[in-house]
């Protein structure tokens, strides 16, 4: 088992693509500027967690597949509604106004119940680009966007995007001219945030479903922008 243990990260990452699932794979895009393991060795709790999982696997009490399945169930508990909400805002100006005025009420219209979460939707324009972070922990609108991506929780992203947002955005492939104001939102207390990207040119007449297909989770956090 020593080889397996030694190779733990590599094994997990290659296994990851073997199973059947439909969440997007933005975590694996290169270059990935802010992953969990880019700040040196893993933390104490991460090591304990991995050690515990390995022990349980070795003793035959759980399997890696069960852990992966459980993580997918987490995703299902927090279904991803963000793309449908933004696509509706693109085709229905009145809905967009309601979304910007009171995000939770507007999402409820579409059947996305955010429970206690207060949602602030912020709109990208030719003048302003919005990006979301939680520097204190990793607050995230799970009821709307599902589980947060690993990079969103990384210390690298959380610490850097507040003071050098343009450098971080560039690492995600998003370069903005100085004439565009970068507006960073630190999601540090009771509000949760959703970025409404600009609808790309060339999508005139598209259906809501087709428009929603353009929208990845990363765009709704504000680190990338939709393109046709």
């Amino acid at each position: 088992m020593t080889n397996t243990t030694h190779d733990y990260y590599a094994r997990k990452s290659s296994d990851h693509h073997d199973h059947d699932h439909d969440h997007d794979h933005d975590d694996h895009k290169q270059p990935n500027p802010a992953n969990e393991h880019d700040n040196g060795p893993p933390g104490e709790y991460e090591i304990m967690s991995r050690a515990m999982q390995e022990l349980l696997e070795q003793k035959g009490m759980i399997t890696a597949a069960q852990v992966a399945k459980r993580m997918e169930l987490f995703d299902e508990e927090f279904p991803y509604h963000g793309a449908q909400v933004v696509a509706r805002a693109w085709v229905d100006p009145a809905f967009k106004q309601r979304l910007l005025a009171d995000g939770r009420a507007a999402c409820a219209e579409m059947g996305a119940m955010l429970e206690a979460e207060r949602l602030i939707a912020v709109e990208n324009t030719p003048e302003v680009h919005n990006v979301i972070v939680c520097t204190l922990c990793s607050c995230y609108p799970r009821a709307l966007l599902g589980m947060p991506p690993t990079w969103y929780k990384s210390r690298n992203y959380r610490s850097r995007v507040v003071f050098e947002p343009r450098a971080v955005l560039k690492e995600f492939g998003t370069e903005l001219p100085d004439s565009v104001t970068v507006r960073v939102h630190d999601s540090n207390a009771d509000m949760r945030y959703l970025v409404v990207p600009m609808r790309p040119q060339g999508t005139e007449g598209w259906s809501e479903v087709k428009l929603a297909g353009l929208l990845s989770r990363d765009m709704l956090v504000g680190v990338t922008v939709p393109k046709v």
């Binding site: 009171d102 219209e109 003071f163 939102h185 630190d186 207390a189």
Partner: protein
Amino acid sequence: MSSSASLKSTYTPAPVHRYRVGDKVTVKRTFPPGHRRTPQYIRGKQGVVERICGTYPNPEELAYGFDGLPAKVLYRVRFLQTHVWPGYAGPANDIIEMEIFEHWLEPAAT
């Protein structure tokens, strides 16, 4: 899809609040122990009230099992990045916004 008229706003009213949208405020520069939702990097910085979010139970009390009442008024405050970070590399128009509870704010000197 239901009509918007039937939907009640989810924002919590804050009928009594010390600051209004547009007011200049300074975040207190204090470092008390305990659970605080005011990031260290923003303490002592001056900004402008962007919106009033409503009233929320005080997280500094909730964190220790208290009920957090009376609820505190929560604001969103907008800061210029060049003010928050000396040596900020981006243009002067870049901004950062975050949520600050009323008891962490005082009127800006200017």
